[in-house]
């Protein structure tokens, strides 16, 4: 009998708990600096330390650093800063949910054309703000059709082919000798053919699962879009309704080279799970397709392969000995236009502090690679240095035309599926499916994204 009563009580308590949990005020995260806001309100020393900041972070790998920086800022100014990081690949979902709350993010990310269309109206015009004045380039900013400065780059990245020079040397070649697709092919095929004897292979696994497929459908695909832009003689400023796919054979050149000269059998790529980052760090392969964010942080290539270098996507295009790396970003700050004026001001102050405070910007630059602001700490990222060296040698920078991919998730999914079929059976018919997903898929998704 007693047990029954206890059980009934427990059930009632659980039910009530469930009910009240829903009504719970979400003041946990970031509110740990309790008292901060209140005490500052009264002691605010002329710095206008009112309002609060809520940063919905896009880069999961930087979460730790951002929490540290947020705490530093709160300790210094008393302004509460809450940093919430969306899980990898769920930024859109998290942003949709958070923006609907009364306590919406004051600082969020609009990183591409599609984002500007969708979220642009929720962003304030950053033109002539304190933070915009600190920028040292306009290259990574996003404007809407009316010329409103919707978002500003807070870091930029580069991607290409990352090489382990020691392994290339062990195989009797030199990284400096790789100047175009033909020379890359020679080195790669030689290493792959002698993999047994050398103890390492040419490329890491080109996994096509969600954790890795973006290296090809998002990044490597950029070479096609970029050269198409160049052929047309102008840089895209908005998503074109169709693409020609003229440079798909070049994409195929490089893609084939990667999958057929790799540790992992092309037939096993669809499943993924081969952990290409670890393969590269453990010296099991001399090349990998990756970006500058792997230099430090959790991936930390520089920890295992300190002299790793990044070289351009050589793919057999004429004049590619002058190619540089793919530089761009999807990391652009936008400030919520619907936040209170106090919060907006607090957010801009915080952004300004992030790029001007010596210690904070040093921490952020270590994690982000580089921040394009006048007073920000200097980059320590080796891959971004490679990008700079190439540019200063007169090589062209390949911009991130890939940011214009229409209805991006659906477009890439179809491309992944077609590439999977092709990897399993490399026939012309299967490559035609890739072509269709690449070119026709673009038009289809453009229409889907823009239909009234």
């Amino acid at each position: 009998m007693k047990l029954k009563r206890v059980l009934a009580l427990a059930m009632a308590a659980a039910m009530a708990g469930c009910f009240f949990a829903g009504c719970n005020d979400d003041s946990g995260n970031g509110g740990s600096s309790n008292g901060g806001a209140g005490s500052t309100g009264s002691t605010g020393s002329g710095g206008g330390a009112s309002g609060s900041v809520y940063w919905l972070n896009f880069k999961p790998e930087s979460d730790g650093v951002l929490q540290e920086v947020a705490k530093m800022y709160t300790d210094e100014t008393g302004v509460p800063v809450k940093v919430v990081t969306a899980a990898s690949g769920t930024y859109e979902q998290t942003l949709s949910a958070e923006m609907d709350k009364s306590d919406a993010p004051t600082l969020f990310v609009i990183g591409n054309e599609a984002g500007v269309k969708k979220w642009g109206s929720y962003a304030m015009d950053l033109k002539d703000t304190k933070i915009a004045g600190e920028l040292n380039t306009d290259a990574y900013n996003h404007y809407d059709a009316d010329g409103k400065l919707v978002s500003i780059g807070y870091c930029y990245e580069s991607y290409g082919i990352i090489v382990n020079p020691d392994l290339v040397e062990q195989a009797g070649h030199k990284v400096e000798d790789i100047k175009d697709f033909a020379s890359l092919k020679t080195v790669v095929e030689d290493i792959h053919n002698r993999a047994g004897e050398l103890g390492f292979d040419a490329f890491t696994a080109c996994d096509m699962d969600d954790s890795s497929s973006w290296r090809f459908t998002g990044h490597m695909a950029n070479l096609e879009y970029y050269y198409e832009e160049q052929k047309a003689g102008k840089t895209w400023t908005e998503c074109p309704a169709t693409i020609t796919g003229d440079y798909l054979p070049n994409f195929k050149n490089l893609f084939d080279l990667c999958i057929n000269n790799s540790i992992t059998d092309p037939k096993e790529l669809a499943t993924g799970g081969h952990d290409p980052d670890t393969q590269f760090k453990e010296g099991k392969a001399a090349f990998t397709v990756q970006g500058s964010w792997t230099y430090a942080g959790d991936t930390n290539y520089s920890g295992s392969v300190p002299n790793a270098k990044m070289i351009p996507y050589y793919c057999g295009v004429e004049g590619e000995d002058k190619a540089g790396l793919n530089c761009g970003t999807e990391n652009c700050w936008a400030v919520n236009a619907n936040a209170s004026e106090e919060d907006r001001n607090a957010t801009i102050e915080f952004m300004y502090w992030c790029v001007t405070n010596e210690e904070a910007s040093k921490k952020l630059v270590e994690s982000f690679g580089v921040m394009p602001y006048k007073s920000a700490a200097e980059s320590t990222n080796g891959f971004l240095k490679d990008a700079e060296t190439l540019t200063s040698n007169g090589n062209y920078v390949m911009d991130w035309a890939t940011n214009f991919q229409p209805n991006v998730d659906e477009y890439r999914k179809a491309l992944v599926s077609a590439l999977n079929t092709y990897c399993a059976d490399q026939t012309d018919a299967n490559w035609d499916q890739v072509k269709s997903a690449f070119v026709d898929g673009w038009a289809t998704q453009y229409n889907a994204a823009n239909a009234g």
Binding site: M15, M99, T271, K413, A437
Partner: protein, 327 residues
């Protein structure tokens, strides 16, 4: 006092009983015939406290979002608070979306196949485990356990299992639509058979022994007993199990997302066709696509989806209920 006197004395009390509330009846049951419960009054006063939270939770967690969902299906919106009323345009878009229709038929096929397989197998297992074989309690527990694992986790676990096998044949679950379909069926069977089995076991145990004995005395063989006695008596369990597996089949989302996520995608005349995308996943993908009116369309799809699942579920309930027999 004579008996007659007693009877007259009790009369008003009986009359009172006729009009008393169920609550008062209950308290009389506990507190004896002639005493009013000391609890009746406070209980009447406090029932709000007990019913209130559940009612409020039901309204906040179900009724309100449901009504809001219907309203949003008539709106264009990016954020719920900025919804703009546009009328029935979203429904037209939903009905003219070929991928929605395709996933409807795919889902229907899946629901029917999984309904049949899950119920036949669950019944077979339940039947076998009520024959009194050794260790049947252990088997029941083991068969029930997959139901305790969440759909997403199951999806990923099974994708590893399938890929482990399929990689030997140079393919994978995301590359072959036939395997995608049957993979999902196997996964759902594995997850749900145990659950349905429990319901069938309860039903089987409720069949009166005398009925089975009578059948035996009348000379019915095992097969005849099964078809003529056991199954007709099991109809309430069949009703609930078919209802559950049918609606589960239609509503399936997590397992679909984790196992194949709609792959493989085949390009047909430049249009990507997701070979294994079910209705709920189609709605999800529509909601998060880049089009500015996509969310309203997805919402309209969700309302259509609700009506569809409710209609099919109720039709099936009505049909199988008719087959139920009175014991």
């Amino acid at each position: 006092m004579t008996n007659d006197e007693l009877a007259t004395k009790n009369e008003p009390l009986q009359n009172e009983e006729v009009h008393e509330s169920p609550l008062a009846k209950l308290s009389r049951f506990y507190w004896g015939k002639n005493r009013k419960s000391p609890l009746t009054r406070p209980l009447r006063k406090w029932f709000i406290l007990f019913l209130g939270p559940v009612t409020a939770a039901f309204i906040i967690g179900f009724v309100w979002p449901f009504l809001q969902g219907i309203y949003l299906s008539l709106c264009n919106f990016q954020l719920i608070k900025d919804a703009k009323f546009v009328g029935f345009g979203n429904y037209i878009k939903a009905f003219t979306d070929a991928s929605f229709m395709r996933s409807f038929w795919y889902t229907a096929l899946f629901a029917i196949v999984s309904l049949l397989l899950i119920n036949i197998l669950a019944f077979a297992v339940a039947y076998a485990l009520t024959l009194g074989i050794k260790g049947s309690n252990l088997f029941r527990t083991v068969f029930f356990m997959p139901n305790l694992i969440g759909g997403i986790v199951l999806g990923y676990i099974w994708s590893m299992i399938f890929d482990g096998v399929l990689s030997a044949f140079g393919t994978s679950i995301v590359q072959n639509s036939t395997w995608g379909f049957w993979g999902l069926i196997i996964l759902m069977c594995w997850q749900q058979i145990g659950y349905m089995m429990i319901i069938y076991i309860a039903g089987l145990n409720a069949i009166p022994e005398d009925m089975l004995e009578a059948a035996k005395i009348d000379g019915a063989n095992k097969w005849q007993t099964l078809w003529r006695v056991t199954i007709p008596n099991l109809m309430p369990s069949i009703t609930i199990c078919t209802f559950l597996s049918l609606t589960n089949g239609f509503k399936l989302f997590d397992q679909n997302l984790a196992l194949t996520s709609g792959q493989p995608i085949v390009m047909q005349d430049g249009v990507p066709i997701k070979q294994t995308e079910m209705l709920a996943l189609n709605i999800y993908n529509t909601f998060y696509s880049s089009n500015n009116s996509a969310r309203g369309t997805a919402q309209a799809k969700a309302v259509i989806f609700f009506i569809l699942v409710a209609a099919i579920g109720l039709a099936q309930l009505a049909y199988t209920r008719k087959k139920e027999v009175q014991q």
